[in-house]
Symmetry: C2
Subunit: 427 residues, 2 copies
């Protein structure tokens, strides 16, 4: 099982993904079987934003070699990439850095001519890393509104409708500022891989309208006290005095989802089958409280173990997505380790199961582990050390539990993120 995870993770690194998908020979860029004929002399511009920008850009730059004309990406951490300017911006909270970074990208993209070609590497986190409010809306107006949206428990998809209508870069607006052609290489950290959602879609388009955005604010009672600049903008938008977000795709810019949770699960399935074990992708949309999701996952496994239904043994059930953790204590851990601990609490001494859950970004919660892997040996070790699972769960202290049983999965940050993957082996 550990092998399956590590192979999957290795294949999920941007270096692997990009090398597998993208190739360049002077005058021709190939991606996913599609060829773009390019002028060999003009070279290719490289842009990007998101938590995977650095590693993806690095891999792209290596493939382009001398043909990389110029590069500029926005990252959440400092890094250097040969031939590429790396702007460090802020995440997850928007700051002036986000605005400066957006302004740089806007300027560079606007300056390109229609004969230019660019590659934009897009990944999760981009929404906070680059932002530029539509004047005269200010950063502070945005912050006031965001606070209100969050305080009123507005669902994330409705928050995004509002945000996209305040921004010069989101909802496809950035893609309209350039005359150049290009491709967007997308690493999805979003359930369902919706291109309108990933990184707030700077280069795509947006089906929601100013009218929808105003409706969300009214629905949650936020309209009356909203900053005047925002009310004026939305009213101008509704009446057509200010243009809405693009409703169609810019046909000079093509998007390619180069990696996603489903693709990672498909790779895991492949590696399981190489080992001669049938594997099924149960979902790439896992969500809910980690310790409760664990109980349902093990309930599926127990049925297979007891009655070989709906699959015969041995089998691996694959789950992807992102669960959540409601904090009860101040322990160390994350949703993956907590789910593994809750699974261990159910499988106990049964030798029929092995389970792991880990973040593909290599970081789980407030710990330096990616996740954990458990089986009956973990249970026996915990018994020997007199570790009580319920105690560790009640403190959200899964990391300290697994540090003692030796079941942490430590990979270090991977520089990418396609959410979490989990697998239950039933033998």
């Amino acid at each position: 099982m550990m092998t399956i995870f590590l192979k999957t993770l290795a294949a999920t690194l941007p270096a692997s993904i990009v090398r597998q998908k993208l190739s360049y020979t002077p005058g021709a860029l190939k991606i996913d079987g599609k060829t773009f004929e390019l002028s060999a002399e003009r070279g290719i511009h490289l842009f990007g934003s998101g938590k995977a920008a650095v590693e993806t850009a690095r891999a792209v730059a290596q493939i382009l070699g001398q043909n990389l004309r110029h590069g500029c990406i926005v990252s959440n951490y400092p890094a250097s990439v040969e031939g590429v300017e790396v702007l460090e911006s802020s995440h997850p909270v928007l700051t002036e850095k986000s605005i400066a970074a957006a302004e740089t990208l806007i300027e560079k993209l606007s300056r390109l001519s229609e004969d230019d070609f660019f590659i934009y590497v897009l990944s999760g986190g981009s929404s906070a890393l680059i932002e530029k409010p539509i004047p005269p809306v200010t950063l502070s107006d945005m912050q006031i509104l965001t606070k209100g949206l969050l305080a009123n428990g507005v669902p994330i998809d409705e928050i995004n409708i509002v945000r996209k209508h305040l921004s010069l870069v989101k909802g496809g607006r950035l893609g309209r500022l350039t005359k150049a052609s290009g491709i967007v290489l997308v690493i999805s950290d979003v359930i369902g891989d919706d291109l309108e959602a990933i990184g707030s879609a700077p280069m795509f388009f947006d089906r929601s309208t100013f009218y929808d955005a105003k409706l969300v604010m009214k629905k949650y009672g936020l309209w009356e006290n909203a900053p005047d600049t925002i009310k004026k903008l939305f009213e101008d938008g509704v009446s057509g005095r200010f243009e809405d977000t693009p409703k169609t795709i810019n046909d000079k810019i093509e998007h390619f989802i180069i990696d996603s949770n489903v693709k990672a699960l498909q790779r895991a399935k492949g590696y399981a089958e190489e080992l001669g074990i049938s594997a099924y992708i149960m979902t790439s949309r896992l969500r809910g409280e980690a310790r409760e999701a664990a109980k349902v996952i093990i309930a599926l496994g127990e049925e297979i173990a007891a009655r070989r239904e709906p699959f015969p043994t041995p089998v691996i059930l694959l789950f992807g997505g992102e669960t959540t953790v409601t904090l009860h204590g101040d322990g160390k851990g994350g949703r993956n380790q907590e789910m593994a601990l809750a699974v261990l609490n159910e499988i106990k001494e049964s030798p029929r199961f092995v389970f792991f859950s880990a973040g593909t970004d290599g970081i789980d919660g407030n710990s330096d582990a990616a996740g954990a892997i458990v089986d009956c040996e973990s249970w026996k070790t915990a018994l020997k050390l007199n570790l009580k699972i319920d105690d560790y769960l009640s403190r959200n202290d899964s990391y300290d539990f697994f540090a003692q049983t030796g079941d942490l999965i430590m990979t270090g940050p991977t520089g990418t993120n396609v959410m979490d993957i989990a697998a239950l082996f039933v033998g």
Copy 2:
């Protein structure tokens, strides 16, 4: 979907189950393909305890007709069954009634000769309905200990180890008090259908020991302050001065699980397939917080809807078991309605899903509904009526929500219980 549920429920009624499994011709009793040759003159004795005792006994009595020599069952509600004495006892809390009922059964079973034959109908709830502490342990001693066990969060399987070692009827002891032969018709309301667990196994045997029982009490710090009668009994048990629970089955008494959650799910699967829809039993061991289990179930359904993995559409996923509800408010509802409401919160206006969850006993939580059934029409109705799912969930008020949308499943009490069944249709 409603048809599938109602057909399944109809087939789950003890009258259906018993009629299908049991037949009698003078001199021969047939159950599950096995024949017991009996003296036609002596007739058959009928005993029983549990929440399904009345309906099961009624069905058995009808099949036996004139050959029912005598009957006595213990129920949690008043009822009359022709030819059978019905003792009303207390549930879920043990009282003097439980002791009186146990004494009656002990006396009647002890009086049978080795030429007699009995049928014992056993179902969930039996643990509280019949009880007789081993003298000199008193009911009050038991109550003190039980309070301590519950207050210390002792898991139910460990509570049962302790309880079985205080009892003259549990853990197989009742079955040792009779010289007669017999069969036990079991309706399981226990995950995994463990005969050592169902109704505390009055006629089966028990692998746990006085030593284990003492260990549980020590583990949870309950030994020191336990009533002296109990400490003395356990020490006598550990040292062999008092005989432990039977460690082998009484070979004159055979158990037949005539119904269970898995059997109900198998029937549901059959009815789905009659309608031309593939169905899979995903688990009969569902557990965890209802609203969180809902999210995992719908995550499975969405993957099928989006990618036809691991099953092609249309398909029905079947789930059985018992979830739990953590109370946040004082609303009306139960785990089934709450799970249906949480599922509705995820499927919203999607026309690809229909979901139901209902208790096979016909009673869900503190309501008179068995459960609820939801699809996009429920969502639309809720929108029209301006019902906010989050509000109803936060008050645990799923019943009042579905009373307004018209999605309650009302069956009335069924007189049996094989836990809950839930199904997700993905089209």
